[in-house]
Symmetry: none
Subunit: 419 residues, 2 copies
């Protein structure tokens, strides 16, 4: 098992001005290549802390990948940190300088003097070609461990990670690989899900040699269950994960809407397209979120006709034909209103299926009997209309997210059950 | 200067499945509160490494904030790491358990037994309320240093960071503070913006003692210009930033839609409310995104009546009264169609203002003459209707984001100009 550590470098990261997407990208790629990322560190453009970060990482990991601070300007000091830790001088590589000058010539630009810095590199290091920029990657073997530095510019970093680094790690990692399977669930909270499958994922219950780990990843859009096997026998690992997956599916199958990179809007879209069904939405408290999620999917115009966002009662009456008496008797946030909204959407927009949401997203508008977070969902299908009542009680954002997700899930279950 | 370290916890981060947005959010907020983030660490759901990460951080920093692993399931082991490092037992807090049970009662759900774990907390710690979830934050004073653990669920983490943690850091940070001022622009690209104000933000042009740094933060929603001063003289720092801000505003004022935490939907909403104007939307390619952005704002129901998502031509005719001849002659993606859509929205929904968007988000649907990324925006106001044509030519997501932003900006400029 090749242990890896990633160091990302830059003040903009520590200020929180930049989200560290490089760390995630490098992590995913080198994990796929067979390394195991055990630790990540982020430090600023500061020689002291950078040198300490490199030292710590070289103690913990077999491969250390540092990203950032290789540019030509004064605040790019990663090379200084490398030379300090590895006790090597920076020397001018004429061959590198020559290539740099040619590079600028090709682009018809005179090379700024500052770029000469990029030909100053640590003595005895190996260099990684940069197809997209002027900063070379740096690789140093030290006492059986490998240190690699790549630029922080995402496209330049990706080029080196996808090429040289992935190949190098594959060679070192040997046969060891990491297999992932994600079961994407919706309509059940993390702890309830855990209870249903706890005994299946109890390490004692799993085949000892399979080394499968299980993680729960909750969000407003549902809970993902991630099965991971790290193995030197891929076929065996996949079989173990497949067996556990089918045991889990037996118990909680109805909550699973997809796998790995599936998302719910896409899953629903595939079924609607396949069955030549059309959909229309009527939204109140979600204010367009459901329609937005559905139309995030390319080609959704083939099954999604459109929607009505009826925030005011007048529009619920005029655009969706909700009878005034219903609004007066039960209110706009009621099972009665939402079922008329769903039917109105299907009729007025001429769709096979109408999906409607009404509720109180908050922060204001709640009452004793209908507090913030009260949501009704209506699904009008040929022949009948169903409604569901929810009490989320979160903030405006989470109430809207959860209401939209619950509405999509109600539609998904109908499409799944009634083939 | 209060030195801070952030530890983010979770295998999903080390696998690269999740981008670590929490680390950026916490970094930004505590920097604004006066702390200086010197180091960030990410570890997996592993007791050994987590405990080592806490130990290292407590050596380096005055305040350590850990995020993740506070959930109820087996892979949430942050509390174990805390107890191991601080040598404290986990004990059951009856008061916490009681609140948990009430929480589930309110939602009408039986509390799964596993949630009892969340009442098991380190002895002698202080707890941070969680408005949105069942995991409490944990704060432990140790030898003049402060350790804080918050959940990894972003909304729950944000609640604690924005409240308890920010206040606590402000108290401790003492005299040395970081002042940020964000000018939020829209409708101009980063490099053009830079050209217009380059000489103003040239370090040589800035008062030497002011130590102001300027950063450009571009996104599909516009470009933010961030002015930062780190100073022990708050009044002086604010004056310097204020002077630079007014110089910048002189040059690019018309692109500035707000400051700091302002967002465009909120800015528009304030003006509509103040002038007692009502708004209705008609969306095609944005599929509900504009209505969603507008209704993200609490209280938007007082000025946003609703919207129509007319994906199909039939709906453009039936719901928005776009004449068939217009669709046949000019097509659905045209200035003619979008102006009828805007007028139709205002009339049919009975609003003072109608805002309409039609276009080709892609990836398919483009033509020689109207390629993917072609977008028309229509604004119907009492007495006249204006249209604008855009060619974004990005992917589906960015085209939708940019179309929605352009539509909001067109409305914003109208509201700003015609008082």
């Amino acid at each position: 098992m090749t242990k890896a550590e990633i160091i990302t470098i830059g003040d903009e990261l520590l200020y929180g001005h930049t989200i560290d997407t490089n760390a995630a990208y490098i992590s995913e790629k080198i994990t796929e290549a067979g390394a195991r990322v055990i630790w990540r560190t982020t430090v600023g453009d500061d020689l002291e802390t950078m040198t300490e970060a490199i030292a710590r990482a070289m103690q913990r990991a077999d491969i250390v990948i540092a990203s950032g601070g290789l540019g030509p300007t004064h605040d790019d000091i990663t090379k200084k940190g490398i030379c300090r830790y590895f006790k090597r001088p920076l020397i001018l590589y004429d061959s590198v300088l020559k290539k740099l000058e040619e590079r600028f010539e090709k682009r018809g630009i005179r090379m700024p003097a500052v770029n000469q810095n990029q030909a100053l590199l640590p003595q005895g290091a190996e260099f990684i070609e940069n197809q997209l920029g002027s900063a070379l990657g740096i690789a140093i073997e030290d006492d059986g461990r490998l240190f690699i530095a790549v630029p922080g510019v995402p496209s330049e970093m990706r080029g080196m990670v996808d090429g040289w680094i992935t190949e190098t790690i594959r060679k070192r990692a040997g046969s060891n690989i990491t297999i992932h399977r994600k079961l994407r669930t919706v309509g059940i909270i993390e702890s309830a899900l855990y209870e249903k499958i706890a005994e299946l994922i109890d390490p004692k219950a799993l085949p000892r040699e399979s080394k499968i780990t299980v993680a729960f990843l909750p969000s407003w859009k549902g809970v993902d269950i991630r099965l991971t096997a790290i193995t030197d026998d891929e076929e065996h690992g996949r079989r173990n994960i497949g067996e556990l997956e089918s045991k889990i599916t037996e118990r909680i199958g109805k909550y699973i809407f997809g796998y790995d990179r599936d998302d719910m809007a896409g899953t629903i879209g595939d079924i609607l397209k396949e069955r030549h069904l059309t959909l229309a939405a009527a939204e109140s408290c979600t204010g367009g979120l459901v329609s937005k999620m559905i139309t995030d999917i390319p080609g959704s115009s083939s099954y999604f006709l459109g929607g009505v966002i009826a925030y005011s009662n007048d529009l619920k009456m005029n655009l969706l034909s909700v009878p005034q008496i219903i609004l007066e008797k039960y209110g706009a946030v009621s099972a009665e209103c939402v079922s008329y909204m769903a039917e109105g959407a299907a009729q007025k927009l001429g769709a096979n299926i109408g999906l409607a949401i009404t509720g109180i997203a908050g922060p204001s508008g709640g009452t004793e009997e209908k507090p913030v977070g009260t949501v009704f969902i209506g699904l009008a299908i040929p022949g009948k209309t169903e409604t569901k009542e929810y009490h989320f009680g979160g903030d405006r954002e989470s109430n809207r997210e959860r209401a939209a997700t619950a509405a999509m899930d109600m539609l998904r279950r109908y499409l799944k059950e009634f083939k």
